[in-house]
């Protein structure tokens, strides 16, 4: 399965989605070409060509260990690429890091805090690290960021007393300290309760409405599906798919599911249509991928009826992203690659 999934990968061409008037400043907020990172002999990231349009909410999907975080580290100049180019907000990374990074807010591999400082002091510390921010407005900006993630009540508490969710909120607040053109959020809903997850989703939506490009990585498809207009899927260091949700769904193939006592006849009919039916669990159920171009489920049903196959149930399912994801990554969720 994996091999065939790779074959369907859309190489660098990628989808070109118009993302509003901002396009003129340079179409993409993030663009990589042949991005590769080698640790020892292992290729953690292998020839990734990302294209994140400005103004999009871009989901960066992949199982744990598929190279997402390493890619993000290279995007932010934390790690150097073994080969390949990165353009971030029209700047060359890591060479233009000084000019580019002030406009980028980031949450990388979970939040990190000084446990002996209060939440507020933590943010002030990170804000001071950016020489482009104004100390005069620091307190105001820090408070606004805390307010935005709902941490105002705990601002003066020492951060080591924070719960996992509070730390996560603090990490997101750090990314929001200054007005950003691009947010890179690595697993932003980690450790959050459903309420918090919803809040983060709304936050991302409102940021996007303000014109910020948001790049969200996640190993959870459902999350990405709810927030993002575009996604890219990583598997074992390679980018296996990239496009809008609809494009990816369209790339997937529909299935038919036939429940019949005459499974031998049904098998023959389906094979005759060019499909490769499989028997699943119960003897009387056959499934088949609608892999023949132009073949519609209703045609299949008609063919079965025409051949006097007794059909107890017929079900046609459209392509789900989940199937697509499983097909592309070849693995279940939460499995380290």
């Amino acid at each position: 399965m994996t091999a065939s999934a790779r074959a369907t990968r859309t190489p660098s061409a990628g989808p070109r989605v118009s993302a509003g008037p901002q396009v003129s400043a340079g179409e993409f907020a993030i663009e990589t070409r042949g991005l590769t990172k080698v640790f020892g002999r292992q290729k953690a990231v292998d020839g990734v060509d990302l294209a994140v349009p400005r103004g999009s909410v871009f989901g960066f999907l992949g199982p744990n260990g598929s190279g997402k975080t390493t890619t993000i580290r290279m995007l932010l100049g934390l790690a150097s690429a073994s080969s390949g180019d990165i353009r971030l907000l029209d700047g060359d990374m890591p060479n233009d890091a000084r000019a580019v990074l002030p406009q980028v807010g980031a949450l990388v591999e979970g939040p990190a805090i000084y446990p002996f400082l209060s939440g507020r002091a933590n943010l002030q510390r990170f804000d001071a690290a950016d020489r482009h921010t104004s100390p005069a407005t620091r307190d105001k900006r820090v408070d606004a960021a805390l307010e935005r993630v709902g941490l105002s009540h705990a601002a003066r508490k020492r951060a080591h007393a924070y719960s996992l969710g509070m730390k996560q909120r603090l990490g997101i607040a750090n990314a929001l300290l200054a007005p950003r053109d691009l947010l890179i959020l690595d697993e932003p809903t980690n450790g959050l309760d459903p309420q918090g997850t919803r809040e983060v989703r709304n936050l991302i939506r409102s940021l996007s409405d303000d014109g910020t490009t948001v790049f969200v990585s996640s190993h959870l498809l459902a999350e990405v599906e709810q927030m993002c207009t575009m996604i890219a899927i990583m598997s074992a260091g390679r980018l296996v798919a990239q496009g809008t949700l609809d494009e990816l769904r369209a790339e997937g193939t529909a299935h038919v599911r036939v429940t019949t006592p005459d499974h031998a006849d049904a098998h023959r009919v389906l094979t005759g249509l060019g499909l490769t039916p499989e028997r699943h669990g119960r003897d009387d159920v056959l499934t088949a991928e609608l892999s023949v171009p132009g073949l519609q489920p209703e045609t299949v049903n008609a063919a079965l009826v025409h051949a006097d196959v007794r059909v107890r149930g017929f079900e046609a399912s459209g392509a789900s992203l989940e199937d697509r994801f499983v097909a592309l990554t070849g693995e279940g969720f939460d499995v380290a690659g």
């Binding site: 150097s80 690429a81 073994s82 080969s83």
Partner: protein, 404 residues
């Protein structure tokens, strides 16, 4: 993404440092171009420099082949003030001193030890010695210079009247230089051996080479500042030794007049101050002792030292009893083993004495008829009958001389 160039500074910096260190010493060793001078002219030049004022750091090191004293003394201790170990200490290892000189009358020498200091301060009226670790000071009132000078001149005139040949006493620097050369000429070759740089200044090298083959001294080199005539360094080469056996010289020197208050000294509160007798008191003391001895009709306490040989291989023999007077216990009949070399006298720290003794034991070797201290420049022989012989010759020659 080749970022290896960022390691470049880390490679360059050590190279720069090493280059600077090497070229620095190369500059120091470069020989400056100076107008040629004869030995006679150089000596005159030195003689005119006595009125100069300067200050600087003097580094002194000895390599006499003695065991290093810093190993023998317990760690963390400041150098001992006990005279024997102090002398031994100055003969081994390295020392640094700060020197201030303003003409012939004012001088200050500070021997800089770690967290301690020994200073000698001399001004027109007083001479002070101060040891910070013991917090002890010694003070001497200097005789009135002008009066002393006048008295000396008067005496000289008196003598000249008696002995007309004394008219030739050297007075001018040139005469002094000539007299010096005449005195040492038969035994020594005096040459000007090129130029050098000392403490960043260009200097002439005056080289004294003994023509006597029996002496341990190979040569003595004196660096003389080319502008002022102040000797900047002295190094003594032992025969058959590559490294200088004794070296003392400025590592930094400044020919501006030091502040006058540098030559002032007031002993700190709580310091033990020993007053040295004035010249008159000393004379009275000697006279009194003499009178007492004469009165009791006893033989003189010690014979006069005997000088054997001449020139560089001169040997000085101190008569029997001297060793005992110095607190050295050798040769009191206990032939077997070394026994206690040093006596513990009242007021001495037994531990210090033990330390000094351990050092002496290490340094002394048993020879026929006594114990010898052989260094690369000087040998000392303590005979079993208590005589002490010393000279810039080998211990064997001292033994031979002692049997004479």
């Amino acid at each position: 993404m080749n970022k290896n160039w960022r390691w470049l500074p880390a490679g360059i910096v050590p190279v720069v440092i090493v280059t600077a260190a090497v070229s620095g010493s190369a500059v120091a060793e470069a020989q400056p171009q100076l107008p040629a001078r004869t030995a006679q002219e150089l000596l005159e030049f030195v003689a005119t420099s006595t009125d100069d004022a300067y200050s600087g750091t003097v580094e002194q090191s000895s390599n006499l082949g003695l065991p290093d004293l810093s190993l023998a003394s317990p760690p963390g201790r400041t150098p001992s003030s006990d005279p024997t170990s102090m002398v031994l200490e100055l003969l081994t290892g390295e020392h640094s001193a700060q020197v201030y000189v303003d003409g012939p009358d004012k001088a200050k020498v500070q021997v800089l030890d770690q967290l301690a200091q020994r200073s000698v301060v001399i001004n027109e009226t007083d001479a002070w010695y101060y040891d910070s670790s013991a917090n002890e000071a010694a003070h001497a009132v200097l005789p009135d210079k002008d009066a002393a000078k006048a008295a000396l001149e008067a005496k000289l005139q008196e003598k000249v009247a008696e002995h007309p040949e004394l008219q030739n006493i050297p007075r001018t620097p040139a005469e002094l230089a000539q007299a010096f050369l005449a005195t040492i000429d038969p035994s020594t070759e005096v040459t000007v051996d090129g130029t050098s740089r000392v403490a960043g200044r260009s200097a002439y090298e005056l080289l004294l080479t003994p023509e006597d083959a029996t002496t341990l001294i190979g040569s003595i080199a004196v660096s003389i500042d080319s502008e002022t005539g102040v000797p900047l360094s002295v190094s003594v080469q032992a025969r058959g030794q590559d490294e200088a056996a004794f070296e003392a010289g400025f590592s930094a020197v400044d020919f501006s007049t030091p502040d006058a208050d540098i030559f002032e000294f007031t002993p700190p509160e709580g310091a033990t101050v020993t007053e040295a007798p004035t010249a008159d008191e000393a004379k009275a003391h000697i006279d009194e002792a003499k009178a007492r001895v004469d009165g009791k009709d006893q033989p003189a306490p010690a014979e006069e030292p005997v000088v054997i040989g001449e020139g560089w291989s001169t040997i000085v023999e101190l008569p029997a009893g001297t060793a005992a007077q110095l607190g050295l216990n050798l040769g009191t009949g206990e032939a077997a083993g070394m026994g206690d070399i040093m006596e513990v006298k009242p007021g001495m720290d037994p531990e210090e004495v033990a330390g000094a003794q351990a050092m002496l034991e290490q340094a002394l070797t048993e020879v026929d008829g006594g114990h010898a201290l052989q260094t690369s420049l000087v040998s000392v022989l303590i005979t079993d009958d208590g005589r002490i012989l010393a000279g810039a010759v080998s211990a064997d020659q001292l033994v031979a001389a002692s049997r004479r």
